[in-house]
C-alpha cells in the first residue's frame, strides 16, 4: 500500500499515512486531486479507481471516506477488507466510532493504524491482538498517570 487517507464528506482531511517517501508539495497535490475525484463519484459506483498509475480503493463509512492507494498487481478486494477491518478496530476501540472520535483522538486512530498496518503491509490481522497491544500501552499510560497524580497529592 502506498498511502491511506481519511477525509470527510466536506473534503476535510482527517488522517493521512504515507508509506512511500514523497515531498510535502506532492502529498498536498495528490490529496487535493484525490479527494476531489472520490467525492465526485456517485454512491452506486465501483469502489475502485484507476488514478495515475495507481489503483485507488475507497469506501465510505457514514460521513468519512477511507481511501487507500495500492499498486496495480495488488488485490483490490482485500484492500477493501483492510479498510473494513480498520473501521472494525476503531469501532471496537471507541465503541461505535464516529467522525468526531477520530477528530478528537486522531493520535489514537494513528496508534491503531500502526498496530494494524506497518510500512504499508498488514501486520496483525487478529482484531484481538491489535487491540490488546493498544490497550497494553494505554494501560501503562494510565498507571503512570495515576502514580503521577498520587505523587502530586502527597
Amino acid at each position: 500500500m502506498q498511502f491511506m487517507l481519511l477525509f470527510s464528506r466536506q473534503g476535510k482531511l482527517r488522517l493521512q499515512k504515507w508509506y512511500v517517501p514523497l515531498s510535502d508539495k506532492e502529498k498536498k497535490k495528490i490529496t487535493r486531486e484525490l479527494v476531489q475525484t472520490v467525492l465526485a463519484r456517485k454512491p452506486k459506483m465501483c469502489s475502485f479507481l484507476e488514478w495515475r498509475d495507481l489503483k485507488i480503493v475507497y469506501k465510505r463509512y457514514a460521513s468519512l471516506y477511507f481511501c487507500c492507494a495500492i499498486e496495480d498487481q495488488d488485490n483490490e478486494l482485500i484492500t477493501l477488507e483492510i479498510i473494513h477491518r480498520y473501521v472494525e478496530l476503531l469501532d471496537k476501540y471507541f465503541g461505535s466510532v464516529c467522525e468526531l472520535d477520530i477528530i478528537f483522538n486522531f493520535e489514537k486512530a494513528y496508534f491503531i493504524l500502526d498496530e494494524f498496518l506497518l510500512g504499508g503491509e498488514v501486520q496483525e490481522t487478529s482484531k484481538k491482538n491489535v487491540l490488546k497491544a493498544i490497550e497494553q500501552a494505554d494501560l501503562l499510560q494510565e498507571v503512570i498517570l495515576r502514580s503521577v497524580l498520587r505523587s502530586l497529592n502527597v
Binding site: S47, N105, E107, L118, V122, N129
Partner: protein, 1070 residues
C-alpha cells in the same frame, strides 16, 4: 480507555486560516520555551500534527518531536515517535538524531518501549544507520513474545526494502521466522519472501513445498480461530501465499505441479458469498493463470471469472473484467462467452467500468474489429476529463487505429495504392508528434505488428506493403528490445530469396538490412547475405552487397552514415554539385565539350531541324526525368520518402498502370481523415487479390453476422443491436473465428446437425407434424431456462408433460427450416404395449415431487433423459435410456464417475441387458451430498456394443437444494436444538418491496428451498431443514426496516454458508 487530549482543538469551526496561524505562533513560542514540560510538549505535538495535516508549515516542531521521543515517559514517547513518523521522511537529516533513542529503547526491559522502537524502525529509518540497530533487532527474533518477534521481522522487511545487501547474511533467520510457531510471525516473514521471490524466483523454488503446506493448513482451518476474518481463515495470509505461489510456478511445470492440489482446494473452499472469499478467489484465479497451465484448473478458474463478470455487484464485475483482460491472450474464447456482458459494460454509467472494458477490448483488437473499438474509445475520450486517462487512451488509439488500419490499407490496396500513401504514412511515423515516448510506442507497435505479419509462412504481401515494412523494420526495429536482431535479419533474408519479390522491393529490404546491421555488432546472417549477393546477377543487388560489405568493415563510418532515427534530420545537399568541379575542369582541359542545359540543346536541335514540332515537349520531358531516376544516384535507400516520384523510381513501367487504375482504388483517406463508408464495395472487389492476408481484411468482410441473423431475429431490437455490436467486436476472436452470438445458438446448430442426420433415416412425413410450430421468441428463452433449472418444482401430469418436451425441442429449431426428429406417433402406437419412446415416470414416482424430464445428451442411436425425484431420504436420479435405432441394443452400461461432492448409494453402474428397438429403459440411482457445495456436477457415461464400442458422456448438475428436506419439529425442540448448535452464520439481506411481509418471504423459502416453517411470532420466524441423510440446519429470521436478518445454525460448518447462499439467490430471484 482513551483520553481526550485533542479536545481543545474544537474551537476551530471553519478552520479559519487566522485562528490556525495564531495557534501556530503560540505553539512555536511554547515548544521553544525552556520551561515547557514534556507533558505540555506532548499536547503541542498533537496539535502540530493536526496543523500539518491541514496543510500548514510546522517544521519548527520536528526537532521537538525527536526530543519528546528521547526524553518523555511512555505516554509522551509514544506521541513523540508518532510525530516523528508522520513528520519526517526517510532521508530527513533530523532522523539521524533518533538513532540513539531507538537503540536505547530496543535494549529496554519494558516491552512497550521495545514495541515502539520496532514500530518506528519499520516505518522510517536512515539507511546508513542500519548497522547500528541490526544486531539488536536480530536478537529480537528469538524473543519470547510473539509480538516482538513479529515486529522484528517487519523491521527486517523494511531494511530489506531499503538496503537489501545489509540483511543478506541473515537469510537463514528469515527461514526460521517462516517456521515460527506463531502464525503472525510466519505471516510477517512472507512479506520478505514475496519481495525476494519477486526479484529472483528461481532462488526459492525449494521453498515451494513449505508454502504449499502452509497454505493447505490455512485453508484447512488449522490456524487459531483468532486469525479468522468473518469466519474465513486468515485471508491475508492466503492471498500472500497465493501470490508467492504464482511467482514460483510461473513458466515452471515442475514447481506448478506441486501446487495444483492446493489451488484446487482453495477454489473449492472459497465458495461462500462474502467479499473476502471473492478476494481469495480472485487471487487464486490469477495464480492459476500465471503458473504453468493445467486445463482442469483453468476450467474452474474460467468459471470463477464468469461468476465475477456476471455478478450484479459492481466491484466484482470490475474485477471480472480485469481478470478477463488478464487472461484474454491465453483464452480468447472466455471473452466470447461473456461478450454480451462486455457490451453492456461498455455503456455502463461508471466510467471506471467503461475504461476497464476498453482496456479489455484493446487487448483483443484485430484487423476485423479495430474500427468499432476505436470508435468506442473515442466516445469515451469525449466524456473523459482526467488527463492521465486521456494520455493513456490516445496512445492506444493511435497505435491500434493507425497501424492496423494502414496495414489493412496496404494489404488490400496492394500495389495499386497511390505512392503518396505509403510515403505519407512513413513520414508521419518518422516525424512523429510532440511526445517522444508516444512516438516510440507507436513505432514499436508498428514493428511488432509487422514482425507478426512476417511470421506467417507463405503469406504474400503486396510489394508496397513489404517496402513499408522493411523501412520501418530498418529504422525502428532496435526499439523493440525483446526481439533479437538476428531474427529480423533472418526474416528479411528469406524475403530476399523469394522470387516474387521485385527488385525494387529488394532494394528496400537491403536498405533495412544495412540499417539493422549498423546497430548490431556482427551478424552471421549479414555475412551470409553479403556472400550470397556479391555475385548476384542483379547489378543493383551486387552493388548493395558490396556497399554493405565495406560498411561492415568500418563500423564507425557505418554508424555515422546511418544514425539511429536519422530519417528526419535535414540533409544538406550540394545542389550545384560543386564537388565535381575538379572533375569537370579536368574534362574540359582534355577538350571535352562544355555542358549545355537541356533547353539550350533542344533549341539548338529545333533550329537545326527547322520543322514543325507537334509533340507536347513538356510531357516527354517529365517522363524522361522520372525514368532517369532509375539509373541515377537515387538508389532507393528508403531514406527518401518525401517526393512521390522517387519512391517508386524502379518501376516506371508500373507508373502508368498506377495512374490509370487510380480511380478504381479505394479512397481510404480524405480531407477529413479516414473514409470508412465506401470500403465495403471496393474492398470486396479487391479481396481475392490478397487472400493470404485475410485476417487483415477486417472491415471489408461487410456483414459477418449475416450467417446468424436468422437466429437473432427472434430477439428484441435492443438485444439485436447489442449482438450486432458484439459480433463486430468479437470477430476473429477464438479458435472457431466464427461469431457465436450466444452460447445457446451454437449448441442449437450442433443439435440440428445431429438431428438432421437422423432425419434421413426416419420417414419425413412423420416429422413434419411438428414443423408448423409457430413459437414466439420468448418461448425459446423460457424453454432454455427450463432446461437449465430443472429444480423448478413443477408437478405436471403425464399428459401435458409429453407435448411439453416436444415443444421445447422443436422450439429450438423453430427458425430453421430443418425437419425435426420427433419420436413418432406411429411408432408409439405400434409399441404401445411396450414402454413408449418418450420417457415417463412410473405411477408411484409420479406421486412424488419431481422435476421435468430433460434431455441429457444423445447420439444417433441413443438418447438420455433425466428426471430428478426428491424423495424423503435421498435424491433419486431417474435416467432414461432410449434406443432410437430400429434394432435392439445389447449390454448397455451406464456408469457414474466418482464425484467428490456426491455419494451414490448402492453401485455406481447399471447394466441394461437389452434395450429393444424404439424403446426406453430406465434406471434409478439414489444420491446424497457427501461434501457440501452450492452446486456440483455428477458426470457419467453410457456405452454399448454395436459394430464398434460406442460411448456417450453426460453430466448432471446437482445443487445443494436437491439434498435439502424440510425437518418437522416443535418450537420447543427447535429451541433446544438451537442452543446445542455451535456453527452460526448471520447475514442481513435487503428485501425487495414485493416480499415485504415476513410470511410471504418465508413461504418463498419454504417453496424454493424446502425449509419447514416451525413457527412465526410477530416479525420473527423460525425454520428448520436437514441435509440428507440427517444433518439439521436451523434458521431464525427477523425483519426490520426492509431488511431480513438471517441467522443459521447447524452442527456442520459449511451448511449454513451454503444455505445462506441459496437464500440470497432465492431472494434475489423473487
Amino acid at each position: 480507555a482513551g483520553g481526550r487530549s485533542g479536545r481543545s482543538l474544537t474551537p476551530w469551526p471553519g478552520q479559519q486560516e487566522k485562528l490556525i496561524q495564531q495557534e501556530l505562533t503560540s505553539l512555536k513560542a511554547t515548544v521553544s520555551a525552556p520551561t515547557t514540560t514534556l507533558r505540555l510538549m506532548k499536547e503541542c505535538m498533537v496539535r502540530l500534527i493536526y496543523c500539518e495535516m491541514l496543510g500548514y508549515e510546522s517544521s519548527f516542531g520536528y526537532i521537538h518531536a525527536i526530543k519528546l521521543a528521547q526524553q518523555g515517559n511512555l505516554l509522551e514517547k509514544r506521541v513523540g515517535y508518532l510525530a516523528v513518523s508522520l513528520f519526517l521522511h526517510e532521508n530527513h537529516e533530523l532522523l539521524l538524531l533518533l538513532v540513539n533513542t531507538v537503540v536505547k529503547d530496543l535494549q529496554s526491559t519494558n516491552l512497550v518501549e521495545v514495541c515502539m522502537a520496532l514500530t518506528v524502525v519499520s516505518q522510517i529509518f536512515p539507511r546508513e544507520m542500519i548497522p547500528a540497530v541490526l544486531p539488536l533487532i536480530e536478537d529480537k527474533l528469538q524473543h519470547s513474545k510473539e509480538i516482538i518477534r513479529r515486529k522484528a521481522v517487519q523491521a527486517l522487511y523494511k531494511f530489506y526494502l531499503i538496503a537489501p545487501n545489509q540483511v543478506q547474511h541473515i537469510h537463514d533467520k528469515f527461514r526460521k521466522a517462516l517456521c515460527d510457531r506463531d502464525a503472525g510471525v510466519m505471516a510477517a516473514s512472507l512479506h520478505i519472501y514475496l519481495q525476494m521471490i519477486k526479484e529472483n524466483s528461481s532462488g526459492y523454488k525449494d521453498l515451494t513445498g513449505s508454502f504449499v503446506t502452509i497454505l493447505k493448513q490455512v485453508v484447512g482451518g488449522k490456524l487459531p480461530i483468532d486469525f479468522n476474518y468473518h469466519s474465513v481463515p486468515a485471508p491475508w495470509l492466503q492471498i500472500q501465499l497465493l501470490r508467492i505461489l504464482g511467482l514460483l510456478g510461473k513458466d515452471d511445470p515442475r514447481t506448478s505441479e506441486l501446487m495444483y492440489d492446493v489451488l484446487d482446494e482453495s477454489l473449492r473452499r472459497a465458495e461462500i458469498n462474502h467479499n473476502i472469499t471473492y478476494a481469495i478467489l480472485f487471487e487464486c484465479v490469477q495464480t492459476i493463470y500465471t503458473i504453468y497451465p493445467k486445463s482442469e484448473l483453468l476450467e474452474k478458474a474460467a468459471k470463477c471469472i464468469g461468476k465475477f463478470v456476471l455478478s450484479p455487484k459492481i466491484n466484482l464485475k470490475y474485477l471480472g473484467l480485469k481478470a478477463l483482460t488478464y487472461v484474454i491472450q491465453q483464452d480468447p474464447n472466455l471473452a466470447l462467452q461473456h461478450q454480451m456482458t462486455i457490451i453492456e459494460c461498455l455503456d455502463h454509467p461508471d466510467p471506471i467500468i467503461k475504461r476497464e472494458t476498453l482496456e479489455l477490448l484493446y487487448r483483443i483488437t484485430n484487423g476485423q474489429n479495430v474500427i468499432v473499438i476505436v470508435q468506442k474509445m473515442l466516445d469515451y475520450l469525449k466524456e473523459s476529463k482526467e488527463e492521465y486517462a486521456i494520455i493513456n487512451l490516445v496512445g492506444k488509439i493511435a497505435e491500434l487505429w493507425f497501424i492496423q488500419t494502414m496495414n489493412a490499407v496496404f494489404s488490400v490496396g496492394g500495389d495499386v495504392v497511390h505512392p503518396d500513401i505509403p510515403n505519407n504514412f512513413l513520414r508521419l511515423l518518422a516525424e512523429g508528434f510532440d511526445d517522444r515516448k508516444e512516438d516510440d510506442q507507436l513505432r514499436m507497435y508498428a514493428v511488432q505488428s509487422y514482425l507478426a505479419l512476417l511470421e506467417e509462412e507463405d503469406a504474400l504481401y503486396p510489394q508496397k506493403f513489404l517496402q513499408v515494412m522493411s523501412w520501418v523494420l530498418g529504422e525502428y526495429s532496435s526499439l523493440v528490445t525483446d526481439v533479437d536482431p538476428e531474427v529480423i535479419l533472418t526474416k528479411l533474408h528469406s524475403l530476399l530469396k523469394k522470387t516474387v519479390i521485385t527488385s525494387e522491393t529488394k532494394m528496400w529490404i537491403m536498405a533495412a538490412v544495412t540499417k539493422i546491421a549498423s546497430h548490431a555488432s556482427c551478424s552471421k546472417i549479414v555475412d551470409k547475405l553479403i556472400q550470397e549477393f556479391s555475385n548476384s546477377l542483379d547489378t543493383c543487388m551486387r552493388q548493395y552487397a558490396f556497399e554493405l560489405k565495406h560498411l561492415c568493415e568500418d563500423k564507425a563510418l557505418m554508424r555515422n552514415l546511418l544514425p539511429f532515427d536519422g530519417s528526419c534530420n535535414d540533409m544538406v545537399v550540394d545542389a550545384s554539385l560543386s564537388f565535381l568541379d575538379g572533375f569537370v575542369a579536368e574534362g574540359l582541359g582534355r577538350g571535352a565539350a562544355p555542358y549545355k542545359p537541356h533547353h539550350q540543346r533542344q533549341e539548338e536541335k529545333l533550329s537545326q531541324e527547322k520543322a514543325l514540332n507537334f509533340e507536347p515537349y513538356g510531357l516527354s520531358f517529365v517522363s524522361s526525368v522520372s525514368s532517369s531516376g532509375v539509373t541515377g544516384r537515387q538508389s532507393p535507400t528508403g531514406l527518401s520518402f518525401g517526393s512521390d516520384t522517387s519512391g517508386n523510381s524502379a518501376e516506371t513501367g508500373h507508373k502508368e498502370t498506377n495512374t490509370l487504375k487510380l480511380e478504381g482504388v479505394r479512397r481510404l483517406w480524405g480531407k477529413e481523415g479516414y473514409l470508412p463508408k465506401k470500403e465495403n464495395k471496393v474492398g470486396k472487389e479487391n479481396e481475392p487479390q490478397t487472400v493470404s492476408c485475410g485476417s487483415l481484411l477486417a472491415g471489408q468482410m461487410g456483414d459477418p453476422p449475416a450467417l446468424r441473423s436468422d437466429q437473432v431475429a427472434s430477439l428484441s431490437e435492443e438485444d439485436k443491436e447489442k449482438q450486432q455490436l458484439a459480433s463486430t467486436l468479437f470477430i476473429g476472436l477464438g479458435s472457431n473465428a466464427g461469431v457465436s452470438l450466444m452460447g445457446k445458438a451454437d449448441t442449437a446448430t450442433q443439435k440440428f446437425k445431429r438431428k438432421s442426420k437422423i432425419n434421413e433415416t426416419q420417414s419425413s412425413e412423420e416429422a413434419s407434424d411438428f414443423q408448423d410450430t409457430s413459437l414466439c421468441s420468448s418461448d425459446i428463452v423460457e424453454d432454455n431456462l427450463a432446461f437449465e433449472t430443472p429444480q423448478s418444482l413443477k408437478k405436471s401430469g403425464p399428459d401435458d408433460r409429453l407435448p411439453d418436451i416436444r415443444l421445447s425441442q422443436s422450439s429450438l429449431f423453430a427458425d430453421s427450416n430443418i425437419e425435426i426428429f420427433q419420436p413418432s406417433r406411429n411408432a408409439q402406437s405400434e409399441s404401445a404395449s411396450k414402454t413408449p419412446l418418450v420417457p415417463c415416470l412410473s405411477e408411484e414416482l409420479e406421486e412424488l415431487t419431481h422435476s421435468e424430464v430433460v434431455e441429457l445428451c444423445q447420439s444417433d442411436a441413443l438418447a438420455l433423459y433425466l428426471c430428478k425425484v426428491w424423495t424423503d431420504d435421498s435424491l433419486l436420479l431417474i435416467v432414461f435410456v432410449s434406443n432410437k435405432t430400429t434394432s435392439a441394443l445389447n449390454a448397455v452400461n451406464l456408469v457414474f464417475e466418482e464425484a467428490e461432492h456426491f455419494q451414490i448409494l448402492e453401485s455406481t453402474t447399471y447394466q441394461f441387458p437389452v434395450i429393444e428397438a424404439q424403446n426406453v429403459e430406465r434406471c434409478q440411482k439414489r444420491v446424497w451430498m457427501d461434501k457440501i457445495c452450492t452446486q456440483g456436477i455428477l458426470s457419467g457415461s453410457v456405452n454399448y456394443q454395436s459394430e464398434m464400442e460406442t460411448r456417450l458422456e453426460f453430466s448432471i448438475t446437482l445443487s445443494l437444494v436437491d439434498f435439502i428436506r424440510p425437518m418437522e419439529m416443535t418450537t420447543e425442540d427447535f429451541g433446544k436444538l438451537w442452543l446445542s448448535l455451535s456453527n452460526d452464520v448471520k447475514q442481513n439481506i435487503k428485501m425487495s418491496s414485493s416480499q415485504d411481509s415476513l410470511s410471504a418471504t418465508l413461504s418463498t423459502l419454504q417453496q424454493k428451498l424446502k425449509l419447514h416453517i416451525v413457527d412465526i411470532i410477530g416479525n420473527e420466524g423460525i425454520l428448520a431443514c436437514q441435509l440428507l441423510p440427517s444433518v439439521p440446519c436451523l434458521l431464525h429470521c427477523r425483519t426490520h426496516s426492509g431488511m431480513l436478518a438471517l441467522w443459521f445454525r447447524s452442527p456442520c460448518s459449511a451448511l449454513p454458508d451454503g444455505l445462506l447462499y441459496q437464500c440470497q439467490k432465492v431472494m434475489e430471484e423473487s
